[in-house]
Structure formats: C-alpha cells, structure tokens
C-alpha cells in the first residue's frame, strides 16, 4: 500500500474499501467470531477452530473473521453468520459441540436455530436499518436495537467494537475512519480544534471529569517547542475493562483521536501507556500503528501535510498507582511510579519536564466523532454538564454482564434492571459499587439518581473508571469495604504518610470488625483516618482510598453496628462471626458431612444425629455445602445459637 499523500487519496481508499465491504456483505458467506480477551476466555478460540473444521468438512465456502467485543460478555462466545445481502445473525454461548448443528441448520438448510439465536445486526452497526431481502426465518429474529440489553444504549465510543475487524484498517476507513483527521488537517487550525472539543463539553473519561478541551488549551498555550501527548491506558481498576475493549475492538479510533490532539496542542510524539496485563490490546495497538504508518495516516507528513506525529507504546509493569498521571509519567521515564505534588500540572511540566497532555483512552476515542459530527451534536447527548455517553462495565450479581454505553443522565435502575436484566436467582439487590476500589457504593433507595459526573460525587460515589459492580443480599458490605481497602493499601506506593499509614491503620480496624473483635470506637477511628487521608494524601489514590469505606458506613451503618455491637454478620459472610449447626430433626446420620469436615469437628456415627463441636470448627462451610438437599440439615447462622444435642444421639430420638 503506497502512502496516502492527500485527503483525496484517503477518500479514494475509503470509496474502494466501502465498495469491497459492500460487495462482501452482498455476496458470499461470512462467519464472524468475537475474539476479544473476554471471548477468548469464554472459549472463542476453540469455537473458531471447530467452525473452520466443520466448514471444511461440509465443503462450505465461507470467510471466517474475528472482531472485538460487542459488549454482552455473558453471552460469549458470540458467533455471527452473515449471508449474501442479509443482516448478521448472532448466536450466543456457541461452544464447539454446537457447531455442526449450527452449520447444518443455518448454512445448509437455511433455518435459524431459534434456541441459540440472540439477534440481528447489520455490518453497518447497531441501530442501522437498510433495505434488504432476507429469508423469512431470519425475520423473526429481533434486531439488536430491540434487545433489552441494547435498547437503551447509545454507542459512540464503542460504535465499531464487535462490528469491524480491528486488525484491518480498511474496515475502519470505510466507516469514516480518519475522516475527522482529514477535516482537521485541511479545514481547521489548532484553536478551532480545541474550541470544538471545548464546546462539545467532553469531560475526561478517566473519571475525574475535567474538561478535555480546557486541558488541551493549557498544553497548547504552554511555552516550549517540544510537547508530548500521553494516553492513559493503564486501566488498573479491578472491575473495569472498557479501555481494553475499546483498544481491542477499535484501536484506530484511539490513534486518530491522539493524532488530532497532537495537531491541536502542537505535539509530535505521543505515548500510549498500556498495562502489561492486556497483551492482546498491546498487540492490536502495534498492528494498528504499523498499518496507520504504512498508509501515511501516522508518522511524517500525514496525508501529505506538514504535520508529523509519532506514537509509541509503553508497557506498564504492574503498579496500580501508575494510573495516576504524575506516577504514570515517572514510569514512562523509566523510574519508580511514584506520584509527585501538583502543580505544576503535566500541561505545564510533564514528561521529561515538557508540557504534556494526558487523557484517557475513551476521551481520545470520542474526539473523531466530535470533529465529524460537530460539538453541538455531542453536547446534545447526555445532560447539560455531563455531555455524551458513559461506558460502564456491568458485572457482579446481575443477569446480563458486559460493557454498556449509555447517554449520561440515565438512572442506575435503568442500567441494572433494564439493560442488566436484574439480579439472578431471585435474590435482592443490595448495592452497586461505582468507580472501583476508589469509588463508593449506593443502596437501593438511590437507584433513581441520574448517572453523571456530578450527581455521583454528591452521593459519595464516583464515576471513576466506569466499573459498576452489583452486589446482592449475600454480600457483606463490611467485608466488601475491607476487600477494596486491602487492594488500595496494597497498591499504595508508600511515598506519603497519610496513604501509607492511614490505609494500614484503617484496614486493621476493619479487620478487627470482620473478625468479631470490633468495638464501636473503631467506627470513629475509621472516620477520623478517612478525613486525614482525604485531606492529606499526595495523590488521588490516597485521597480516594477511604471512599468505599466511608460510603459503606454512610449507607449501611446498621451492618457495621451489627458487627461491632452484636458481633453478628447479617449477610453470613464474615467467617469468624458465623456458626454452623446440624439440625437434629433433619439429620439422617448419613456421615457425608462428617467425612468432608477437614477439622474433625463433626461428631456422629451411622444413623446418629451429627453434632458440630463449635470449639473445633474452622468455619470452612464444607458441611453446609455437602449436606444433600433432601436433608438440608446444616444451618448457617450468625449471632444466634441453635438448640442441638450435646453429643450424637440416634436419629429420631431428639426432642426439645
């Protein structure tokens, strides 16, 4: 491919790519498999092999391609079949043993396998409707835009994910890829671009929500010839994976956004700092960068202009704190990733002391769409002060897990119940944690708040990176708060005292509480330390570490009090506060639990009512798990005692 030397060259390539793709969807057969990390984890690799094998066996001429993640992770592996002129039909949870039947019924007999089908989608994207003629069997399949999971979604950042082949630049170009870059290079000067982004109201998608255009303006105005661009793809929050999905599914949108930003702020070199736990994302970035360079869309004299921009990838080495901007910069410079006080902000003094613009993956990836469709279009989506869409990684105890992109201002209830399909196994919703281990939880009576940057902060939660973890009645909020705190303290870099010592002391207090040694004073200690950390820590990691504990205390104080006053865990989750009893009128003396007990704490014999020796019990719960459901004789309680015989007695001889 010779380098594109002008906007006209790009337009020509786009036209021919569109024609080719149009031809591809009008003729022949294509099998499309979701091969992002989540798909692969669900077994998409094996499914793909089975499909290739079966196609060969049946002598069917079809192309097999891979795409990124379309978001509905709980239905992986996803397989789409596209036949001449028809929309793609998506089948879900396709495992290798299903492949022969799928191919026989769909491709050979021309029917849809109703019980496995999920929806119909055009190669042009979710929400598209085109003129087409298709078999009657296909028409009964709902479009994606009619499925509950997708109905309320609006996909801007993720518009290409799961639709295009991320390793093929032409598919991106065909869908208006790099058109925004061309527009910027021909029609706009630096100030125009910054102004457009500012007017769109785009706020930093890393979580803090600072106005992106304003930030660009700072870097652009900072004195100096050498400036840098950095993309924060160090998505370290457990429970968030939208940056990974964006890169794995549509890497060129990030590249294009960064190149536009480079033009706007006057930077010639950009770095993408990606965590090393994302090997596939890093590989897709390498492929994308090479392709963009080959096409003259990245590198020297982009599209024949005098603007040059180069991108490099820096792999993280495993440190959560490197998601903090100054720590991230230190890491790129090859040092320990320890944050430093701000100001000076990176826009003034960043990488190697040069002015540096630092944004999250999604912030950059939104930019091409803003430039193409205009600031007003973007500002018209969402709420007045939080424009555009938000992406959440919906996980935990919810039926439809996956990535959802929704207009800002939607309520938590809509996300969890309408999109997520509610709580599985008929359990009760208890809380939703937003913003990961540095965020906060919200209880059921806050489900109707609109989700945007400002309203969440008011309620003690944060937008953060977009993790949204739903927990049900079985989750102990004290234990969950302790879990987040364990994570955050382990990741403290140790540079400042409030974070290093505060986190540790707070964790000790919480540990005492979950182990039944807590006192009401511990709750006061926690609040005091939290205030100290919020005000005194050097960076966001330390300042936000107390967040989950403070939010849990705010909304679930009863649960904390139950632990410290009654030494009881209402959710029966804190092992030290739980006891197991064998119900004497239900035990049949079968001996299954006796054999399963690793501590030898169950006394009994054949046809003898078993008894748990509480002094020996290590509370592993094995007896509870193995007791056959027809007896259901093991009871798990907290803070109450159950009347049982002192020693094993023959079955049937128990009376109170």
């Amino acid at each position: 491919m010779p380098k594109l030397k002008s906007v006209e060259d790009l337009t020509r390539v786009r036209q021919s790519a569109q024609e080719r793709l149009e031809m591809r969807s009008r003729t022949g057969t294509r099998v499309i498999i979701g091969m992002a990390t989540c798909g692969i984890a669900a077994g998409a690799g094996e499914t793909k092999n089975a499909i290739l094998e079966e196609l060969q066996k049946q002598k069917i001429d079809a192309t097999v391609t891979s795409v990124g993640c379309i978001g509905i992770c709980s239905k992986e592996p996803l397989v789409d079949i596209e036949q001449a002129g028809c929309p793609r039909i998506t089948y879900c949870n396709v495992h290798p043993d299903m492949v022969p039947r799928l191919i026989k019924e769909h491709l050979i007999e021309g029917n849809v396998v109703q019980e496995w089908v999920m929806g119909r989608v055009f190669s042009q994207g979710i929400g598209e409707r085109l003129e087409y003629e298709e078999p009657v069997a296909h028409q009964a399949v709902p479009f994606y835009s009619e499925l509950p999971f997708y109905r309320k979604q609006k996909r801007i950042t993720l518009r290409n994910c799961g639709i295009i082949d991320p390793e093929n630049i032409e598919e991106y170009i065909a869908r208006d890829g790099y058109a925004a870059l061309a527009k910027v290079l021909t029609d706009m000067v630096s100030e125009d671009v910054i102004d457009e982004v500012k007017r769109s109201g785009l706020r930093g998608r890393g979580g803090a929500g600072f106005l992106t255009g304003l930030k660009w303006g700072f870097t652009s105005r900072a004195p100096g010839d050498v400036k840098y661009l950095v993309c924060n793809a160090d998505e370290g929050d457990p429970g968030a994976f939208m940056d990974r999905a964006t890169i794995e599914g549509d890497p060129h949108s990030l590249l294009e956004g960064m190149t536009i930003c480079g033009y706007a702020v006057g930077a010639k070199v950009g770095y993408i700092y990606c965590r090393a736990e994302y090997p596939l994302a890093i590989r897709r970035l390498r492929v994308a960068i090479a392709a963009a360079e080959e096409h003259g869309l990245l590198g020297d004299n982009i599209l024949g202009s005098d603007f040059s921009f180069h991108l490099r990838i820096k792999e993280g080495a495993g440190a959560f704190v490197c998601g903090e901007e100054t720590a991230l910069l230190a890491s790129i410079e090859g040092r320990r990733g320890e944050p430093r006080p701000r100001p000076p902000f990176p826009a003034e003094r960043g990488l190697w002391d040069k002015p540096t613009n630092l944004n999250n993956v999604k912030s950059y990836a939104n930019v091409p769409q803003i430039i193409l469709n205009g600031a007003d279009w973007f500002a018209g989506i969402g709420t007045e002060r939080s424009t555009g869409t938000a992406i959440f990684a919906l996980t935990g105890k919810v039926n439809n897990t996956g990535l959802v992109e929704v207009p800002m201002g939607i309520t938590l209830r809509e996300i969890i119940y309408d999109i997520g399909g509610g709580i599985p196994d008929g359990k009760q919703f208890k809380a939703v944690q937003t913003g990961g281990p540095l965020g906060g939880c919200l209880p059921a009576d806050q489900l109707d708040v609109p989700v945007d940057f400002d309203s969440l902060v008011e309620l003690g939660a944060v937008m953060g990176s977009g993790g949204m973890i739903v927990v049900d009645e079985d989750t102990c909020m004290v234990e969950l708060a302790k879990f987040f705190l364990t994570f955050a303290t382990a990741e403290s870099c140790g540079k400042c005292v409030p974070c290093r010592m505060g986190g540790k002391r707070m964790l000790e207090a919480l540990t005492r509480i979950t182990e039944g040694e807590g006192k009401p004073e511990d709750l006061k200690i926690i609040s005091e330390i939290a205030t100290g950390m919020e005000n005194g820590a050097l960076c966001a990691l330390g300042q936000l570490t107390p967040g989950p504990v403070v939010a849990a205390l705010r909304y679930f104080e009863d649960e904390f009090l139950a632990h410290v006053v009654d030494h009881r865990c209402p959710s029966l989750q804190c092992a030290a506060l739980v006891s197991y009893y064998i119900l004497p009128d239900q035990c049949e003396g079968c001996g299954i639990c006796l054999r399963a007990c690793p501590a030898g704490a169950i006394l009994g014999g054949k046809r003898m009512i078993h008894v748990v020796d509480q002094s020996k019990c290590i509370k592993c719960g094995n007896c509870f798990d193995v007791c056959p459901s027809r007896f259901d004789a093991v009871l798990k309680v907290s803070g109450e005692s159950v009347q049982v015989p002192e020693k094993p007695i023959p079955v049937g001889e128990w009376s109170v």
Partner: protein, 163 residues
C-alpha cells in the same frame, strides 16, 4: 543455586530496545523474558551498561509487581481476585489451590513446577471468576475443573487443552 547466566544477552537486549530515554523498564521486561527472572548478576550488568546505580535498578524492579528476583515455577497459575472475581468466589479458589498444592499467593512449589499468583483484574470481569494458566485465560472457573487442569499440566509438563 549457582547457574550459568549468559550475560552477553544483556548487551543484545539493550541493542534491541535501544538506549532511548526511559528505556530501563523495557530493558528489564525484555531481560525477564530472556532469563525468566531477574537475578542480581543481570541487574548489575544492566546497571553497568546503562550507567545507572544498581540501587536505582533494584528500586525500579521492586516497585513493579511484574518483576521477579527469584526463579519462577515451570507453570504459572494466576488467580484473579479483582472485585467481580472476589464477589464470585475467587477466595475459595485460592484456598482450594493452596490446600491442594501447598502454595499460597506468590509462592512456588518445592519441585519448581508451579507458581501461584494473585492478580487484580484481568479485565474479563463479566466471566468471573477468571484464572490464567500458562497464558491461557479461563472464565467462569469451577474449583474441580481448575484443580484438574493444574494437576494435568504439572503432571505431564505439558499444557492441557481446554475442554
């Protein structure tokens, strides 16, 4: 344990990565790929070659969780204890592994076959709980399946194909 380390490889690595600014971390990453871990001799050699102190190199190595100063097991099991995995029972998986193989987080079996690591979030939260055995990602992991696969893998020294 005394072993022969081919330190000329350090030179080769630095040549490949280049001596660009901020190159220390990429050099260490590459060196760990080549040597499997980062023994003192290798660190000293990198320090000498890049003209920085061993202290600085050591400081960087111990800061990041991906660098290892000790040799790791032939097979590596990473168990995710990110939030979603935690809620879906990752701690039980870890205790089962610990009971079966006698290795807790960050430890290696005495025979050098298996290293067990606790990691935070591999970004597949929707498929929690997640484990990675020798770079192969497994979602929706059940205890019995996990133990069987690890046993199979350390038993014959080969990767067991996914069911």
């Amino acid at each position: 344990m005394v072993e022969d380390l081919d330190l000329t490889k350090v030179e080769q690595i630095i040549g490949e990565v280049g001596e660009e600014e901020g190159g220390l971390i990429p050099v260490l990453q590459k060196a760990q790929d080549v040597f499997g871990y980062l023994p003192r001799e290798v660190l000293q050699s990198i320090a000498d070659r890049l003209g920085v102190s061993l202290t600085k190199v050591y400081g960087v190595v111990t800061f990041y969780s991906q660098f290892y100063l000790e040799r790791r097991g032939k097979h590596v099991l990473k168990l995710c204890d990110g939030t979603a995995c935690h809620v879906k029972g990752a701690p039980n998986l870890m205790s089962a592994v610990q009971e079966e193989f006698g290795t807790g987080p960050g430890e290696t079996t005495e025979d050098g076959e298996l290293t067990v690591e606790l990691v935070y979030c591999l970004g597949c939260c929707a498929l929690a709980p997640v484990a990675v055995l020798d770079d192969q990602v497994m979602g929706g992991v059940r205890q019995s399946v996990l133990l069987d696969r690890v046993k199979g893998c350390i038993g014959n020294g080969k990767e067991v194909p996914v069911a």
